[in-house]
């Protein structure tokens, strides 16, 4: 572990057991699908078999008469939605499009698009009834590839859609290109003309899924007083509540969203699919209704991340990166809103490059509407940049990490959006990679190669609200509203323990429902340990202030003469006056009532994260299979609150990246039918596909957080695609520009070489 100017902490940096751990290893933790309410019935959803079709009519009469069926709903059962954009935490959504995605209105835009839903006494009965719903479709030509969709003669998903450009221009012709943005500085053409070397390449990546093991689920109870309670698996209960409120036109305060334990999300569980359907089915039947997806529905009916096409031209002079010109086109899926903007804004962040011109296109296609997936937009863009940089260094005969070090961004370097970086740890991360045991060891043997790549992610701040209620025995209930996907109950409790200098075990954190805590944005953007951590720190400071005031009252001294230190209250004027945290907690009733620390904030000062990865591979020339021999991920995390969970985030992100690089893809036939909507055919990495993932945690504290926290979770998925491609290029002499680099693709390419 590399450390830069690190203060001494007592709790931060230790590895305690998480508060929710025992429940999770004994099977007692309640996930969304585990909810069982009295009188509960089950829903199932009918989905479109076509990638693109007009719905002429839906006849639900036979289904409604099927024995055991209690209700059938279609889009007509949802209130009419406004054509307007709502900010919903991390993303902005068009309410009408969101509503049409929940249950299709006039058209289905992808195979798997929800069309109708049935509630029945058992899921099997509901399933039987689905077969009795008659939908009359007028099948339309479909377009599933981003470049095809951009052609002028492409089938249009929406005849009214025009291309919006930066500065508010709108195209006069209808198009599948929803938006075009540009980032530009310097003079790329002049820089290309005087460069030592120039590389120009085109890259493609396929649509891939987050692959969380727990399918989406929602259980809704519409009560007779008009209040609605929804139990669900989500990264953000308040985001679900906001979407329900918009779609159902129901006041926020009358909707309670109970966040159950969540079985993975990675960005995919920020938008709603089932929740509004469960709500209207419950309203119609007067019974609680549970909906769960099966795995094929998860693949076909939820939001994966974009397939992409990226063209890049990059130049170097005097051993530095001097110019980049790039065109990025991302598939948004059925409705606009891909992550292309973030791809464009992160792809050059590891470099201090003066001349660039980046064009970003958001394109609709007949596939599921994309959702966020871990550092959304960045991995595909980094695949292009980092592959091109690798080729530049090969042409120049320079060590790829030295080249990156020479061109590295640092504090003051401007990002492509013109904003200057605050203190960042890019150079420290590169130095740690250069000096790592992995990079210093040789790579030997036939068909083996080594690759490196860097990556960047912004990390988010946003809104958090917490309360810390001090109990009379000195224990503390920490009430927070951030979904705990991978140990944030622990990382938040640890920050409170540090702030108050009390033992970690005395703090009991609870993730509350939307009735019980102030607004919290989604657990996404690597924000929770940072932003909710900031709120926890502020709430802890609030407790300290209140305790100082109480002690001053007890001692009849001026509050300014009381200090809180090491979990004790002391009078600076009288050394005999001292109370421990618990002693004062015991006296709260006598000194003015409960002591409750609060903080609600909009966190600014999120610190961006850099990562550099090193990977060794062996490519089997007989089968085309790539084996990952060794992997080291180096990352600036700011401060590692709970190092084991930091390592875990890095390792998990790397392995998702390995899957994306080598195997994962949405495979389609020409009609727009997904061919591999099961875990068997959509092959995510198993224990056998990966080695141990070594991590080197660099700590360059974020000045925007009292403990220096940066976000951790997302950037680890950014470098692997390019790092592995670069390693395969080193091993085989062939540069792969299309993902995934599956055995078949590799074999075809190697055979072509001979």
């Amino acid at each position: 572990m590399t450390t830069v100017e690190k203060p001494v902490y007592s709790v931060i940096g230790t590895r305690p057991i998480r508060p929710d751990g025992v429940e999770k290893v004994t099977g007692k933790a309640q996930y969304g699908a585990d909810v069982h309410l009295p009188g509960m019935i089950y829903g199932r959803i009918l989905r479109s078999p076509h990638a693109h079709a007009r719905i002429r009519s839906i006849d639900t009469s036979a289904a409604a008469k099927h024995p055991g069926v209690l209700a059938v709903v279609t889009h007509g059962d949802l209130p009419a939605a406004d054509d307007r954009v709502e900010e919903l935490g991390e993303t902005a959504v068009n309410v009408r499009e969101l509503s049409s995605n929940i249950l299709a209105s006039d058209k289905v835009l992808y195979r798997g698009h929800a069309v109708a839903a049935v509630a029945a006494a058992s899921p099997h009965v509901a399933e039987e009834a689905l077969a009795k719903i008659k939908v009359d479709y007028e099948v339309l030509p479909a377009v599933v590839d981003v470049r095809d969709a951009m052609r002028e003669d492409a089938p249009l998903l929406n005849e009214a859609r025009r291309t919006k450009s930066m500065g508010g221009q709108v195209s006069d012709r209808p198009s599948n290109i929803a938006s075009h943005n540009q980032f530009k500085a310097g003079d790329v053409e002049a820089a290309f003309a005087e460069a030592d070397v120039v590389v120009e390449r085109e890259f493609t990546t396929k649509m891939v899924h987050q692959g969380y093991v727990e399918p989406q689920n929602a259980t809704a109870a519409w009560n007779s007083d008009g209040t609605l309670t929804v139990y669900t698996s989500t990264q953000g209960a308040f985001a679900v509540r906001a979407q329900l409120s918009e779609i159902l036109r129901h006041p926020l305060a009358r909707i309670k969203v109970v966040p159950m334990e969540i079985g993975g999300g990675f960005g995919g569980k920020t938008v709603v699919y089932l929740d509004p359907v469960a709500a209207v089915l419950s309203k119609k039947t007067g019974r609680p209704v549970k909906l769960t997806m099966n795995r094929a529905e998860v693949f076909e009916g939820t939001g994966p991340t974009s397939g992409t096409y990226i063209k890049i031209k990059a130049a170097a002079k005097d051993g530095r990166l001097t110019a980049v010109k790039a065109t990025l086109a991302y598939e948004a899926g059925a409705y606009p809103g891909s992550s292309v903007g973030a791809g464009a804004m992160t792809m050059l962040s590891p470099y201090d490059v003066e001349n660039f011109e980046i064009d970003a296109y958001d394109v609709v296609v007949n596939k599921p509407k994309t959702a966020a997936y871990r550092a959304p937009g960045a991995p595909a863009a980094a695949f292009a940049t980092e592959s091109a940089v690798d080729e530049l260094t090969k042409k120049l005969g320079i060590d790829p990490l030295d080249f990156r070090r020479n061109s590295a961004s640092r504090m003051g370097t401007r990002m492509v959006n013109g904003i200057a970086f605050p203190r960042i740890g890019n150079e420290e991360t590169l130095d740690a990679a250069i000096n790592s045991p992995h990079y210093r060891s040789p790579i030997e043997g036939p068909n083996r190669g080594r690759g490196v790549a860097s990556g960047y992610w912004f990390n988010a701040g946003m809104q958090s609200s917490v309360t810390a209620a001090v109990n009379s025995d000195g224990t503390i209930n920490l009430i927070e509203g951030s979904t705990d996907i991978g140990g944030t109950r622990a990382s938040l409790a640890m920050q409170l323990a540090e702030t108050l200098s009390v033992p970690y075990e005395t703090i009991r954190p609870t993730v509350a429902d939307t009735d019980s805590v102030g607004h919290n944005d989604v657990t996404g953007g690597s924000r929770t340990t940072f932003a909710s951590g900031l709120a926890v720190y502020e709430a802890g400071m609030d407790v300290r202030r209140q305790m100082c005031a109480r002690a001053a009252k007890l001692w009849s001294v001026d509050p300014d003469d009381v200090v809180y230190e090491g979990g004790k209250l002391r009078c600076t004027k009288d050394s005999t006056r001292e109370l421990t945290f618990s002693e004062l907690a015991k006296q709260s009733a006598r000194t003015g009532g409960p002591i409750v620390g609060k903080a609600s904030l909009l966190a600014r000062g999120a610190g961006g994260a850099f990562a550099t990865h090193i990977v060794d591979v062996e490519v089997d020339p007989e089968t085309g299979k790539t084996t990952i021999l060794r992997y080291t991920a180096v990352q600036d995390v700011g401060t590692a609150i709970h190092p084991a969970y930091v390592e875990g985030q890095i390792q998990g992100g790397v392995v998702q990246g390995i899957g994306w690089a080598l195997n994962e893809e949405y495979a389609y036939d020409e009609s727009g039918r997904m061919l591999n909507s099961s875990f068997l055919d959509y092959r995510m990495p198993t224990t056998l596909d990966v080695p141990m993932i070594d991590t080197i945690v660099v700590e360059v504290p974020n000045p925007g957080h009292p403990y220096g926290v940066r976000g951790v979770g997302e950037v680890p998925i950014v470098p692997p695609l390019a790092a592995i491609a670069n390693a395969i290029a080193d091993a085989t002499g062939h540069r792969f520009t299309d993902l995934p680099m599956s055995p078949r693709r590799v074999l075809e390419a190697l055979e072509g070489l001979e």
């Binding site: 590895r15 057991i17 998480r18 929710d20 751990g21 025992v22 999770k24 290893v25 004994t26 099977g27 007692k28 933790a29 309640q30 996930y31 699908a33 585990d34 069982h36 099997h124 987050q210 692959g211 969380y212 093991v213 727990e214 399918p215 334990e261 969540i262 079985g263 993975g264 999300g265 990675f266 769960t292 099966n294 795995r295 996907i485 991978g486 140990g487 709970h642 084991a644 969970y645 390592e647 875990g648 985030q649 390792q651 998990g652 992100g653 790397v654 392995v655 998702q656 099961s678 875990f679 068997l680 995510m684 990495p685 198993t686 224990t687 056998l688 990966v690 141990m692 993932i693």
Partner: protein
């Protein structure tokens, strides 16, 4: 649909239940008996989240029909700890931070338990081979494999005492 009565042994207790022939063991465990510790990730045998031990062998309970369990001995995640005393594998998963979201954890613990009962000294390669039927999307497997390795000496100690 006509329901049949099934008698079986679940976590050491004799039980009986009624089920439809089309219901899987996983469905009966979760929806009829309230044992929701076994999880559903795919419902077709590809993720291992529903792993239980049946007659000493690990099975994907989503792929076993409930009626097939007549007379069987079934162990689920709920039967692994003894009261407040965790099984060494459960303790190791906690200490090694081998779970993030935790949805895969019951399945991994059941699979690993069956392995270590057969091969108490399984090495990394063997563990990776044995656990290849259990998907985890959060951890990258590193800490899971380490947790299983670290449980081995604890388990042997527990056996001896």
């Amino acid at each position: 649909m006509r329901r049949s009565q099934v008698q079986t042994r679940l976590n050491g207790n004799d039980i009986d239940f009624l089920c439809e022939p089309r219901q899987s063991l996983l469905e009966v465990l979760r929806d009829e008996l309230g044992f929701t510790g076994s999880k559903e990730g795919c419902n077709n045998g590809n993720c291992g989240a529903c792993t239980v031990i049946m007659n000493g062998r690990i099975v994907n309970s989503c792929c076993v029909l409930a009626v097939e369990t007549e007379g069987a001995e079934i162990q689920t995640i709920e039967g692994v700890a003894h009261g407040e005393k965790l099984h060494p594998l459960q303790q190791a998963f906690l200490e090694e931070a081998a779970l993030q979201c935790g949805i895969c954890t019951p399945g991994f613990i059941m699979s690993a338990k069956a392995l270590l009962e057969r091969e108490p000294n399984a090495d990394e390669a063997r563990i990776r081979h044995w656990l290849a039927g259990n998907l985890c999307r959060c951890t990258g497997y590193d800490k899971i494999v380490k947790a299983v390795l670290s449980a081995e000496p604890q388990l042997q100690e527990a056996k001896q005492s």
